[in-house]
Symmetry: C2
């Protein structure tokens, strides 16, 4: 059902560019707001569709843990996240080697583990300061 050939559009490449230059794991509507000045006729649906296509192409990952809305991460190397339950911000973490975990876990289950979602939930440094 998915098409075989992708075309390069200004909108899609800008979405990826923005995602590659931030570590804040944006939402679709944040991306929409960022791009609206440059693309006055931009549609929110376009942002969502392109995020889906970029995920199909393996250029980004969709993050759904934490909030009621999705966030997107162009850092596709498997890594853990810290999600602040106060302010909703997400930080990258690099202290655990996910690929090693996948191997280890696969030896222990009858299922086929392909990837691991690991998020630390808690209160971030900034929110701790405010208390």
């Amino acid at each position: 059902m998915k098409s075989e050939t992708y075309r390069n559009t200004k909108q899609r490449s800008r979405i990826l560019e923005i995602l590659c230059h931030t570590d804040s794991h944006p939402t679709a509507s944040w991306l929409y707001d960022q791009m609206k000045p440059e693309f006055p006729s931009l549609s929110l649906g376009t942002v969502y569709r392109n995020l889906g296509i970029l995920e199909e192409q393996g250029l980004l990952k969709k993050l759904r843990s934490g909030s009621t809305f999705d966030r997107y991460d162009a850092n596709t190397y498997p890594h853990a996240h810290f999600c602040c339950t106060e302010c909703g911000s997400i930080y990258d973490m690099r202290d655990v080697e996910i690929p090693d975990m996948v191997q280890t876990v696969n030896k222990q289950t009858p299922h086929n583990v392909l990837e691991i979602n690991l998020s630390y939930m808690g209160i971030c440094e900034e929110c701790l300061k405010k208390k």
Copy 2:
């Protein structure tokens, strides 16, 4: 804003009872369907509200990784999950000690890690058989 005193209602205690007697991590609407015969006037909003109250009371956990809808788990001991990307089923895993991880990670970050969400994504044993 949340009330201090909770009352015992048939609906709420049955929700918890069902959750305690299954390991399938049900959704709100599955619980609704299960209970509808016994409570013909049951409202879906009642299920959602009670799931929220039970979570407030620490009697269950909301699982949001994996699907676009929430699932609920009355096993409140920290444990990992396996989420099948084919059929959507969720299995409990016990091979990693989450509490130990929380301690370890807290020494490595300036944030305050309170809990860990760990899910293995992949294809479950049943779906593997069908291929």
